[in-house]
């Protein structure tokens, strides 16, 4: 389920083991990748997964969502110099080879980048060990209003399947 409302009641069940943070602009061609995955999650609503759209998450809010998670997945389209568009990505968040995300160093009262938010959570000891980036490499972001390419739509389906499998695995390990 997606969430940005009042606090859950004190008797609320434990949070879903897998938190997915989705980055993407639905109006910007291939950069809509995270939004495509969000649409798929809305439609399938797999058990064991909670997801949040980074763009709708105020600065430092994602940290509030980390407690009790077994795994975090960041979903985004990335531009990775030297790597052709359409490459699927599944990398550990803290692996040195991870490509930088757009606006990775942004910090203000309005906005904290997902990357910095995860860094801060790591400094605070709030991050589970299992944090990965799921994505696809893209070329220059499309014009506003353009549709994602077939390659990106296919990659979104791949990420959806992966999330469902990982959620099932996380649930079975509880």
């Amino acid at each position: 389920m997606s969430r940005d409302g009042p606090a859950p009641p004190a008797s609320a069940p434990a949070p879903a083991p897998l938190l997915v943070i989705l980055c993407g602009n639905p109006l910007a061609g291939d950069d809509a990748f995270g939004s495509l995955v969000a649409r798929g999650l809305e439609a399938r609503a797999p058990a064991g997964v909670e997801w949040v759209a980074a763009a709708l998450c105020p600065a430092f809010r994602a940290i509030d969502l980390l407690a009790g998670r077994r795994a975090i997945r960041v979903v985004d389209a990335v531009r990775w110099p030297g790597v052709e568009a359409g490459r699927l990505i599944d990398l550990g968040w803290f692996e040195g080879v991870r490509p930088h995300l757009e606006s990775e160093t942004v910090v203000s009262t309005h906005r904290l980048s997902v990357a910095l938010e995860l860094d801060l959570a790591d400094s605070l000891g709030l991050l589970p060990h299992d944090v990965r980036l799921l994505g696809v490499t893209i070329g220059p972001a499309g014009k506003t209003g353009t549709r994602p390419s077939p390659a990106v739509e296919q990659a979104a389906r791949w990420v959806l399947r992966k999330i469902e499998a990982e959620a099932a695995r996380a649930l079975s390990s509880i």
Partner: protein, 465 residues
């Protein structure tokens, strides 16, 4: 990006640089300090984000759309924009005096949520690293993990208050002209009240920490402090506009006392008191003018805080804006807790309102200071005219004056170190230009002795509706 060379009678002078290409991120600014013969000649806070034209595109819109449109001006203080807009329109539409205590309480509660999240975010994640010598909250968190974790818990309480009344914590949509679209159920309020109580306890401890463990630089100036000053309550949604130098006007009379001017180096208008000049809005102004109206739980902390920071009120040192914010956060948490504790569902949650021709102006206290709106409506309820004066524009002139004062003390420091100290000073005001920790591009120009200062065209804001 490129050097601009200007000429005067004495020939070319290398003295000015434009940094326009960096204006791609919302709210970026720059700062320059010009020094001649060991003296600060000019300090400029440059805001070059393109004008956003909200006042213009509100024209012709239905009055009911205004709160949600103006809320989009700011991602961290949307409640303030909604509150100023709603109150001003309620005056224009003749229902301002019909709003009763339960709805006004909800508005205060909503505002408390915004103060809590905005103040805590600024104090602990953007500003405290300056005082403790860290480059960011992330590096600070490695050494002060518990402080940051507690601060995040307090901030979360603020987010949840906003979400309770606004439907969501970012760009909330709950407030409307006349009240709220809906009011929360009592069980949700009760549950949140317990969380706010815990956050209050955390914030009391954190405020003591900030007072006792942080060394505050001293830069005292004889400011004119301007804030709302309501009778019997700390300012938030209501009150006359007053200052420590005798200003006392109704928000409807704002334009009689204040003016905005355009300066060449900023796309944000500078505000000043007519015939008097710069002034300060924000937590320091509110506290200095209203400290006796703090919630008792915040007031109880005040003597100890004053003793720890070695300064009696009024505080004329802008670095003390940080403990002022902390005290206001305690106030907001205690007030929110009280409102939630006595809460009974408000039904109906708004005063019915219809279109009419009218005019109204109102100011509320955004986290960063006075936020003033004025609207004129047509018979059909459409907006004929809108004017908005945000707090950061009101503080720009005084920030530049502070920088000039500080710059004179930094002559012997290397540029990089001087830049850090200037950035720190600017963050005292928590300027809402998406104040990223690296938002300032620092320039210190050492001018030739014979060089003339760069021109800075100034013109008044057009007043014609």
């Amino acid at each position: 990006m490129s050097d601009e060379k200007s000429k005067n009678d004495r020939g070319p002078v290398a003295r000015e640089i434009r940094v326009g290409a960096l204006a791609r991120v919302e709210g970026e600014g720059a700062f320059s300090l010009s020094i001649r013969d060991g003296r600060v000649e000019r300090a400029c806070l440059e805001i070059y984000e393109p004008p956003r034209l909200f006042e213009a595109f509100l024209r012709g819109r239905d009055f009911r759309e205004v709160p949600d449109i103006t809320a989009r001006i700011c991602g961290i203080c949307p409640v303030a924009y909604q509150a100023s807009a709603c109150h001003a329109l309620e005056k224009a539409l003749g229902i301002f005096d019909k709003l009763e205590t339960p709805i006004r309480d909800l508005r205060d509660l909503f505002y408390c949520g915004e103060w809590i999240e905005s103040h805590v975010l600024h104090i602990f994640l953007l500003h405290l690293p300056d005082f403790l010598g860290y480059e960011s909250a992330i590096s600070m968190a490695q050494d002060h993990r518990e402080i940051v974790r507690r601060a995040l818990r307090v901030k979360r309480a603020g987010n949840e208050v906003v979400a309770l009344l606004g439907g969501r914590s970012v760009h909330p949509v709950g407030m409307c002209v006349g009240g709220f679209y809906a009011s929360p159920d009592e069980a949700s309020a009760d549950r949140l009240g317990r969380g706010v109580e815990e956050a209050l306890s955390e914030m009391v401890d954190l405020t003591r920490f900030l007072a006792a463990k942080v060394d505050y630089p001293v830069l005292e100036r004889d400011y004119e402090f301007v804030a709302l000053c309501p009778d019997g309550q700390y300012p938030m949604n209501l009150g006359r506009i007053k200052s420590n130098r005798g200003l006392d006007v109704d928000p409807e009379e704002f334009e009689d006392a204040f003016e905005e001017i355009q300066v060449g180096h900023s796309t944000a208008l500078h505000a000043r008191l007519k015939g008097r000049g710069s002034y300060v809005v924000g937590p320091l102004a509110r506290l200095n003018l209203n400290h006796e109206k703090l919630h008792p739980e915040a007031a109880a902390l005040l003597p100890g805080v004053c003793e720890s920071v070695k300064a009696a009120l009024p505080w004329r040192n802008s670095y003390l804006a940080m403990p002022a914010r902390a005290l206001e956060t305690v106030h907001a948490l205690a007030l929110a807790r009280d409102i939630l504790k006595r809460y009974r569902r408000v039904d109906p949650s708004y005063v019915p309102v219809g279109p009419r021709a009218g005019q109204g102006a109102h100011a509320t206290e955004a986290p960063r200071g006075l936020l003033w709106h004025r609207y004129r409506t047509e018979e059909d309820g459409s907006i004929a005219f809108a004017r908005i004066v945000p707090p950061t524009s009101q503080n720009q002139a005084v920030m530049e004056e502070d920088l000039a004062e500080l710059g004179a003390r930094l002559m012997d420091l290397p540029d990089e170190e001087a830049a850090l100290k200037c950035e720190h000073l600017i963050r005292n005001y928590d300027p809402c230009i998406s104040c990223s920790t690296h938002f300032l591009k620092f320039r210190r120009n050492r001018l030739d002795t014979d060089a003339a200062p760069p021109p800075d065209p100034v013109r008044s804001r057009g007043e014609t509706p």
